[in-house]
């Protein structure tokens, strides 16, 4: 395609209005607003957030109250998503399950990306002993199998049989996920930072006398954000799933906390029997993941001037 690389010379044929200098973020936002993908994702995320913050707006049913007489009733009158094994309303549980699930997904993603990116930037930019050290530490953590690591961390945090509050449990699950997955984000960031640091524009900035902070913030970070953003958007869903895995093992969120992970873990064994108890939380999970992937995609494209 190099044959097509010559852009048109539109140098002199434009309206004389003088262009204002704006930054990457302002231009990026202007671009984002024009993308339908962004608005669809934003609307979905807004609804999900509303569900998480004010579940009573969506349902007046208590998600933890089960009536065994309604056990395994399929979707229909009274409960549009049906009832689970213990006769609890699947719709209400799905609504109430949003908050812990989103909290785990969001906080774990944020934690992984922030810690991973900072470590990656430091490792990739310094490339000295800090790089060797961080890379080796990262390898140790990344080498731990997730389930094994999760068991070790969570059981060492709680005595067996100890009753832990919902918030504390969410925090513990997030901590576990972040501790076990930040090296992946670091590796992505480190590779991008090493590549970017070798670009000539970094050389030119150093020749102008730019200090390390300016170089990292103005030159390296904006050019390395894209791969980490995409990774984060995909990991968001993976982390909600990881929460489900931990729940399934009985070391993550558990009754009476309602989360999609808990619901999926419970329903997994009775798929043929009560498919709706699995289908609805899983469906919400998929839509949530999709919304965040779309959002991540839209943001990445908007921050790339070449795509405009």
């Amino acid at each position: 395609m190099s044959e097509l690389a010559t852009p048109p010379d539109t140098a002199r044929d434009e309206s004389p209005a003088v262009e204002q200098t704006r930054g990457l973020w302002v231009d990026g936002w202007a671009d984002l607003r024009r993308r339908p993908r962004f608005w669809i994702a934003a609307a979905l995320i807004l609804v999900l957030l509303l569900m998480a913050l004010a579940p009573s707006l969506f349902t007046s049913v208590d998600p933890t109250v089960g009536e065994l007489s309604r056990s395994r009733q399929p979707p229909g009158d009274g409960a549009i998503f049906g009832y689970d094994l213990q006769g609890r309303d699947v719709y209400a549980r799905t609504i109430y399950g949003a908050a812990p699930s989103l909290a785990v997904g969001f906080l774990a993603t944020l934690g992984t990306m922030v810690i991973g990116s900072l470590a990656g930037l430091l490792a990739g930019y310094s490339q000295g002993w800090a790089d060797s050290l961080l890379s080796r530490i990262g390898e140790v953590f990344a080498g731990l199998p997730f389930v094994l690591g999760g068991i070790v961390i969570l059981t060492s945090l709680n005595e067996p049989g100890e009753i832990v509050g919902a918030q504390e449990l969410v925090f513990q699950v997030v901590l576990t996920i972040v501790v076990l997955t930040w090296p992946v984000a670091m590796r992505i960031m480190r590779a991008a930072a090493i590549e970017t640091a070798q670009q000539d524009y970094v050389k030119a900035a150093r020749a102008l006398g730019a200090g390390p902070f300016r170089i990292v913030l103005r030159h390296i970070l904006p050019n390395t954000l894209a791969p980490v953003l995409v990774y984060g958007a995909i990991q968001f869903g993976v982390f909600i799933g990881a929460e489900a895995t931990l729940s399934f093992l009985g070391i993550g969120l558990r009754d009476p906390v309602v989360s999609w992970g808990v619901m999926i873990a419970e329903a997994k064994d009775r798929v043929q029997d009560i498919p709706w108890a699995l289908f609805f939380p899983a469906g919400f999970l998929v839509v949530t993941v999709l919304a965040f992937v779309m959002m991540g995609d839209a943001v990445r494209d908007a921050l790339d001037p070449r795509g405009r």
Binding site: E3, L4, A5, P7, D9
Partner: protein
């Protein structure tokens, strides 16, 4: 007798809709046995796309051949059976590229990659094929070929890699070799070696050579005939002597005035070059009339309105300019005496 390769009125587009780029707009040239045709042009002129279309390796999509004809020894290739074309590649026509490192597979030895051709297309045994690979490396003047045949591409220097690629492309004895910027990535002392080698091999084998390049110096040293391309068209076509002495197209002339010469005292001492103003046009919006008119110092009204066809000016000199005769008559104003460095 039909020419070895004849390209006629070739038209290729890239993309669709309003962004459609007209990459080739009626390109035609021919090459005879044992002859070197240089295709000279800057990036975006369509010189590589023409070659890829001839070889049948154009990426489609996004590329789209919308017309024209490519004949090898009289046989039409456009629309021919893909199997037939595959057979012709390597056996009858071969191509070498600018970036020899990416054209060689890093996980196989150089010898294996050359021998592969003999094994799969000539059905030779591994041992015979390797012996032939050594012969090929010898032919491209790689010293110590017996040892080098066992080495991997990364163990070769830039010039050696280009030699290995030439050996590979010539393994099946093609009658036509297309060299796409074969020396652009190389240092000047190595470039000289490779150009000498290509010229020798062409003479030894009576092979037709299409040399695609942007370098006016390289062209002047080896080409029999030269086709100058601009914006997907051939704007001038003639023998080497005529092109440099009496260019008929202002673009050709502009190119010559743009090159700072290592031997030309007239240009030294800070006398400004006379570059062509502006930029080549976007291929999605080629100007009306002569595509060169927005950059041409001599443009008249007629140049804005009418596309000048590639016209015969006598003695096989063709140019696509309404005022070609005038430029030919003027000639170039370079001095005819040169001082030449010799060892």
């Amino acid at each position: 007798m039909a020419a070895l390769l004849e390209v006629e009125d070739l038209r290729v587009e890239f993309g669709r809709g309003p962004e459609t780029a007209s990459v080739l707009n009626g390109v035609g040239y021919h090459v005879d046995e044992g002859e070197t045709l240089a295709v000279l042009g800057e990036s975006g002129s369509g010189k590589s796309v023409t070659a890829q279309t001839v070889m049948g390796i154009l990426d489609a999509p996004p590329g789209r051949i919308i017309g024209g004809s490519v004949r090898f020894r009289g046989e039409e290739l456009l629309g021919a059976d893909p199997e037939r074309r595959r057979l012709l590649r390597g056996e009858s026509m071969a191509m070498i590229f600018q970036d020899a490192l990416s054209a060689l597979n890093p996980v196989y030895t150089v010898g294996f990659q050359i021998a592969e051709q003999f094994r799969f297309r000539r059905g030779m045994s591994r041992k015979d094929a390797t012996a032939r690979a050594v012969e090929m490396l010898d032919q491209v003047r790689i010293p110590n070929a017996k040892q080098r045949v066992k080495e991997y591409p990364h163990q070769f220097s830039g010039g050696m890699r280009q030699r290995a690629m030439i050996a590979m492309s010539l393994a099946l004895d093609p009658e036509l070799l297309i060299a796409d910027e074969p020396t652009t990535a190389l240092d000047v002392t190595v470039q000289a070696q490779i150009m000498d080698l290509l010229d020798e091999l062409r003479r030894e084998r009576g092979m037709g050579l299409v040399l695609i390049t942007h370098d006016l110096g390289v062209v002047a040293e080896v080409a029999d005939r030269i086709a100058v391309m601009y914006a997907g068209r051939i704007v001038e076509h003639t023998d080497a002597e005529t092109l440099y002495a009496r260019p008929g197209h202002p673009y050709t002339r502009g190119l010559m005035d743009s090159v700072p010469r290592v031997d030309d005292p007239g240009h030294a001492a800070g006398a400004p070059l006379r570059p062509i103003p502006g930029l080549p046009p976007s291929l999605a919006a080629i100007p009306n009339g002569c595509p060169f008119h927005p950059r041409c110092a001599y443009a008249q009204d007629v140049c804005v309105d009418d596309v000048p066809p590639l016209r015969e000016l006598g003695d096989g000199h063709q140019a696509a300019c309404h005022f070609a005769e005038r430029f030919v008559a003027e000639g170039t104003d370079r001095p005819t005496t040169h001082e030449v460095v010799s060892g």
